[in-house]
Point group: C3
Chain length 135, copies 3
C-alpha cells in the first residue's frame, strides 16, 4: 500500500463561513490514479473544522451557522483572553477530520452531500491536509 498525501489552502473571507471544498477533493482523487479507497481529510486549526452536509441549498449553510451561534453561548464568563472560546467549542462539536469512501476515482458522497471547510474565527488563511488510501 502506498498512501498519497498533500495539503490544500483555504482562504476564508468572513468571521464564520462554510466553504464547499468537494470539487478540490474530487480533483485530488481523480489525479491520484486510485480507483477505489478511502479519503481522509484533516483540519490542523483549532477554530475551524470539517463537516459533510447539504450543499444544494445555500440556505442550509446559513441556517447551520445561525444555529451554531445560538447553541454556543457568546456571553459566558470565558477566561481565554483571545475572545474566541465559542469558536474553539464549535470546532470540537463539529470535528477536525472527515473520512469519505471513493469509487471510480470519485467521492462516494450521498446525493445532497458536500464537504465543507468550516471557518469559525475568520477571515484567515487556512490549510487542510489529506491522505488517500487505496482499497
Amino acid at each position: 500500500m502506498t498512501m498519497k498525501q498533500g495539503s490544500i489552502g483555504v482562504v476564508t473571507s468572513s468571521r464564520m463561513e462554510l466553504i464547499d471544498i468537494t470539487n478540490q477533493i474530487n480533483q485530488i482523487i481523480s489525479e491520484s490514479d486510485y480507483d477505489s479507497g478511502i479519503c481522509f481529510l484533516y483540519n490542523p486549526h483549532t477554530t475551524s473544522a470539517l463537516t459533510i452536509n447539504e450543499g444544494a441549498d445555500p440556505a442550509v449553510q446559513e441556517d447551520m451557522l445561525a444555529a451554531l451561534k445560538k447553541i454556543v453561548p457568546s456571553d459566558l464568563p470565558y477566561k481565554h483572553l483571545e475572545g474566541n472560546s465559542p469558536s474553539h467549542m464549535m470546532t470540537s462539536m463539529v470535528g477536525s477530520s472527515e473520512m469519505v469512501f471513493f469509487e471510480k476515482s470519485s467521492l462516494n458522497l450521498g446525493t445532497w452531500q458536500r464537504i465543507f471547510f468550516c471557518e469559525f474565527d475568520g477571515p484567515r488563511k487556512r490549510k487542510m491536509h489529506w491522505r488517500i488510501m487505496p482499497a
Copy 2:
C-alpha cells in the same frame, strides 16, 4: 491489502430515532474472514448521522434525543424552506462517520457501547456504507 465494502439498508419509523445497528455490523465483520482490522462506517444522508453510545438502557437514547431537541433551536428564523434545518445541524454535530477497531472477527466496542444510526428527519428509507480494512 484488500478492503471489503458494502451497504446496508436502515428503515426508520419516527421523526427522530436511534437504531442499534451493532449486530448487523458484527455480522458483516464475521463474514469478512478478517480477524483484526478497522471498520469504517459512512452515512450518505444529510439529516441522519452515526454515533456510538450506551445501548444497555433504552432511556439513554430517549434522553439524547430530548437533549438534542433542546440544544438545537427549532424557532430560529431559518431560511431553508424544507423546514428541517435543525436536522441538518444535528447531523453536523453528531457526525457522518464512525470508525471502530475489530479483533477476533468482532467489534472491539467498550462494555456499554453500541453503534447507532441516528434518524433526525424520518421516517425514511436510509442506507449506510461500510468498508473493512484488515490489520
Copy 3:
C-alpha cells in the same frame, strides 16, 4: 501492511476534565518504527470522548467545559436513572474517535493542536485504544 495496536490508561480526577494525551501518543508513534502513516484513536467509554483543540492556554479547556455544561441542559426530565444523561449527550457531540496523520515519526498536528481525552462523568479509571497504520 501491518498495523500496530495497543491501549493506554487514563486516570481522571474531576467530574469533567480535558486531559492532554499528545505526548503519550507521540511516544507510541516514535516507538512504532513507522515514519509516516495514520494514527487512529478510540475511546471505548460512553461518558468520555476524544477531541483535538488548543493546548497552549489552559483557559481554552476550562471555557470549553463551561460551554458544554451550558449547551447540554442538566434539568430536562431525563429518564436514565444513573443521572448522567448530559454526559452521554456530550460524548455523542464530541465523538468517540480521532484520526491524525503522522510524519517523521511524529503527529502532524497544527501549531496549537493537542489531543485531549475528555472526561464527562469522572473521576474514573479510563482507557483508550490506538492503532497505527503505515503509509
